[in-house]
């Protein structure tokens, strides 16, 4: 009676439930181990020694090369492309647009960027399309799709490195350029060559700079002991700097171009991080106005952002 009241007929038996969860956890364990096995297999297959052996088989094994497992071949190919991705950071590939109305072969560019913790961020992609220039016989590249965060302006980069005559990029100056082109056809857009290398180089530099800025802010936060759940293991965590008087430090936006600081005595500050990791400008305001000395300390001494906290500590908690 009591039993049935506690467990209405619709709800499952608790024992059954327990077994279900046990089965589920065992399944997950199996899956995890299988995944592990796969990782190890492919690591082993793509290991340099194995691959070397496969490429230059000893005389006794030459007969084997023909019926070599496709798995081994795939592993070799994959490790090769991984080497390119690690070493150069920008790799190209071909992508077929599945849309039936365009049916284009797109040129894809993959950008890999290594973050501070030695891991790679999700790869960034730019897909370029060949388009015929109006009234001309040549084909030029245009950015079709991309996964670049919006605070990096693809339109500006495209305009500078991959000029496309007559394109209506969302910029006011475009129409004037067209006018100028009409007046001086020898000086117009059409004369400029497209520079895909330059485009990719600048784009990658901008992305890497962004990652470095976020890493630098993360590093400062870690040193201040503000990041509890940071990814680095406790053993390699840096000893926190405590006597700077800074109680809060955070980027103002995803772009991590400006960083906001707060001191325990109520002063607030903000500094701008340059692409090369320097504190470009700094403003500190307390109750009695600007604190120019702290500002100078922040931008002075070479301005490296990594040394910011050390510089602030040397100066000591100031009295405004």
């Amino acid at each position: 009676m009591n039993q049935s009241a506690r467990y209405p007929p619709g709800s499952p038996d608790p024992e059954e439930e327990e077994q279900d969860s046990a089965i589920a956890s065992i399944r997950a364990e199996i899956q995890k181990l299988q995944r592990r096995k796969r990782t190890f297999t492919s690591s082993l297959l793509s290991a340099t020694s194995v691959q070397k052996l496969l490429r230059k088989p000893p005389a006794a094994l030459t007969s084997m090369t023909d019926d070599l497992s496709p798995l081994a071949r795939a592993a070799g190919k994959h490790s090769d492309s991984n080497h390119y991705r690690i070493a150069f950071g920008a790799t190209a590939f071909l992508f077929k647009d599945p849309s039936p109305t365009t049916n284009d072969n797109l040129l894809g560019v993959r950008l890999d960027i290594c973050a501070r913790n030695g891991r790679f961020a999700k790869p960034y992609y730019v897909l370029l399309r060949r388009e015929r220039v109006r009234g001309k016989d040549e084909k030029r590249l245009r950015v079709h799709r991309h996964t670049i965060p919006t605070f990096i302006s693809i339109a500006k980069l495209e305009n500078a490195f991959l000029p496309f005559p007559g394109s209506k990029v969302q910029r006011g100056e475009e129409s004037e350029d067209e006018d100028a082109e009409a007046l001086k056809p020898w000086k117009g857009h059409g004369a400029r060559k497209q520079d895909l290398r330059g485009f990719v180089r600048e784009l990658r530099r901008e992305l890497a700079a962004w990652h470095m800025r976020t890493d630098a802010v993360e590093f400062l936060r870690e040193r201040l002991g503000l990041d509890e759940g940071s990814q680095s293991a406790p053993a390699e965590r840096l000893s926190p700097v405590t006597d700077t008087g800074v109680v809060s430090l955070a980027p103002t936006a995803v772009e991590a171009r400006y960083v906001r600081l707060e001191w325990e005595d109520g002063r607030v500050g903000r500094f701008k991080l340059s692409n090369s990791g320097l504190v470009e400008r700094a403003v500190v305001i307390g109750d009695s106005g600007r604190d120019k000395q702290t500002e100078d300390t922040m931008t002075g001494g070479g301005g490296k952002v990594e040394g910011l906290l050390d510089r602030l500590r040397e100066r000591g908690p100031s009295t405004v």
């Binding site: 589920a24 399944r27 997950a28 899956q31 995890k32 995944r35 592990r36 796969r38 990782t39 492919s42 690591s43 793509s46 795939a74 592993a75 190919k77 994959h78 991984n82 991705r85 690690i86 599945p98 849309s99 039936p100 109305t101 365009t102 894809g108 993959r110 890999d112 913790n117 891991r119 790679f120 999700k122 960034y124 992609y125 897909l127 799709r145 991309h146 996964t147 670049i148 965060p149 919006t150 605070f151 990096i152 302006s153 693809i154 500006k156 980069l157 305009n159 500078a160 969302q170 910029r171 006011g172 100056e173 350029d177 600048e202 784009l203 901008e206 936006a253 995803v254 772009e255 400006y258």
Partner: protein, 483 residues
């Protein structure tokens, strides 16, 4: 709390935060009544928080008590602490939301709910119901006024057109823009769930500090305009419906129209001006996207990776096909879910990840049970592959960005034009399609999976590739410039 009515002069200041709306206003009870019991309790406790108590003081027992106080249903408390305990007590036990609402309106804030309190309640409702409003995404683009705009852009300035401004500066500038025309109350808050800053503007057409309108007007939702600023991207979302279609309301008798619609238009026009600075002017441009869901807008017009890669290209946005260059496994042996997840957590083979994996694993398993490739017929397997290649991860469970409405105008001629001058554009029939539902793209994907829509032949706008909710299509391709 009655104000001195004798001094009433028009000013350009904004409506004060502490302007109180009488608690007996029926529409106020209705507005607050939309919130859940939990939300109401949390809101009341926020008002009673030490940092806010000065702005929202509850009604406390006056020093010299009148006799009739005790007869009221909610006797006034003596200290703030007492009020706080009352709400904490309500939080601990179960009950209806009626009692909380009545306690707020008739008890602790019987002297009135301030405009700021109302704004906080509205924003709280929005946090709880992200699909309660229809949002339009607009793009901020810079107007370059320089006559001879030199081709050279400074070498390391590839940052986008994101104007940098401080919230309070922006509100001040906005106030400066619209003050001569309307009176407004501004409330700026950070969304608790999304990377957004929300601005709630309440507008009224009166130049006076304490307007003489009926208190009903303060809870009129048509007088409220929301503007959302997503982090680090040149887009702005507003709750103002696009007014491009409607004509400016004819020859108005008064010089300034005072209906809520035109007041909203005033605000919309003022936003880019308030963001502009000398030598740096901005304008708002439509981006053909309106949706009920803020997360959708963030996915399609946000700072992230998926803004310019949707539909078939969403596999790139989610990096669902390739892993990190340190991954020794060939890409095709790893499932898409695993790629997406490994990119998200960036940690593999960590013990603490198992629990998260389990839940995903079990959900994918349930899905794959009915779509196991081994038991599928070859045609349906082929179809599934085609659907996957067309939609990528869009419309699936991995990256939900539901569109509630999709309007498409087709400009194609119904018959191939063998008769050259059959007719001018006036006789060309315009075919307009409107899809509505909770998730339009997901629905089309379902249809394709069932074989009702041919996944190989359908045009790309059906896969959500363009990331718009309004499109003009010719020959299967979306025309960039809307006609």
């Amino acid at each position: 709390m009655a104000r001195l009515k004798s001094v009433r002069a028009p000013t350009t200041a904004s409506l004060p935060n502490n302007l109180r709306i009488p608690s007996s206003t029926p529409s106020l009870a209705k507005t607050l009544g939309k919130l859940s019991r939990q939300a109401l309790l949390e809101l009341a406790l926020t008002w009673l928080d030490d940092r806010n108590i000065a702005s929202f003081p509850p009604y406390l027992q006056p020093d010299e008590t009148n006799g009739d106080e005790d007869t009221l249903p909610y006797p006034a408390a003596e200290t703030v602490e007492e009020v706080r305990q009352a709400y904490e007590g309500l939080q601990d036990r179960k009950g209806g939301k009626r009692e909380v609402l009545e306690r707020i309106l008739e008890g602790d804030w019987r002297h009135g709910i301030s405009l700021r309190q109302l704004a906080m309640a509205d924003l709280r409702y929005m946090d709880d119901h992200p699909a309660s409003l229809r949002w339009t995404a607009l793009e901020l683009s810079r107007i370059d006024a320089r006559k001879n705009a030199t081709e050279k852009v400074t070498p390391d300035d590839w940052s986008g057109n994101v104007p940098r401004t401080q919230a309070s500066t922006f509100v001040k500038a906005l106030q400066h823009e619209i003050a001569p025309l309307v009176k407004a109350h501004y409330h700026l808050a950070r969304s608790s769930t999304l990377p957004l800053t929300l601005l709630r503007i309440f507008i009224i057409d009166s130049p006076y500090q304490s307007p003489r309108q009926t208190p009903e007007v303060f809870a009129d939702s048509s007088r409220v305009v929301y503007v959302a600023f997503p982090d680090s991207c040149p887009f702005v979302y507003t709750s103002i419906t696009a007014t491009t279609g409607s004509k400016p309301a004819g020859p108005t008798t008064s010089s300034v129209a005072t209906d809520p619609r035109s007041l909203q238009r005033l605000v919309r026009d003022a936003i880019p001006k308030a963001l502009s600075r000398p030598q740096e002017r901005y304008t708002l441009k439509p981006t053909s996207l309106a949706a009920k869901n803020l997360p959708t807008l963030l996915a399609l017009r946000g700072p992230g990776r998926s803004t310019a890669a949707n539909g078939a290209f969403s596999i790139f946005a989610d990096s669902a096909i390739e892993g990190s260059p340190l991954d020794p496994r060939p890409a095709n042996t790893v499932s898409a879910e695993e790629h997406v997840r490994s990119g998200k957590t960036m940690i593999e083979d960590k013990e603490n990840e198992i629990s998260a994996e389990q839940s995903i694993e079990s959900s994918t398993k349930r899905k794959s049970a009915d779509s196991n490739p081994s038991i599928m017929s070859p045609t349906s397997k082929k179809r599934r592959l085609a659907v996957d290649s067309r939609f990528g991860t869009a419309g699936g469970s991995l990256a939900p960005a539901p569109l509630d409405r999709l309007d498409v105008r087709l400009l194609d001629q119904p018959v191939p034009d063998d008769e050259e001058d059959y007719g001018s554009s006036s006789t060309l029939p315009a075919v307009s399609l409107t899809f509505t539902g909770s998730d339009v793209i997901g629905g089309i994907r379902k249809l394709a999976e069932l074989g009702i829509v041919d996944p190989e032949r359908m045009p790309s706008w059906m896969t959500g590739e363009e990331g718009v909710s309004m499109a003009v299509v010719r020959g299967g391709n979306r025309l960039r410039k809307d006609v």
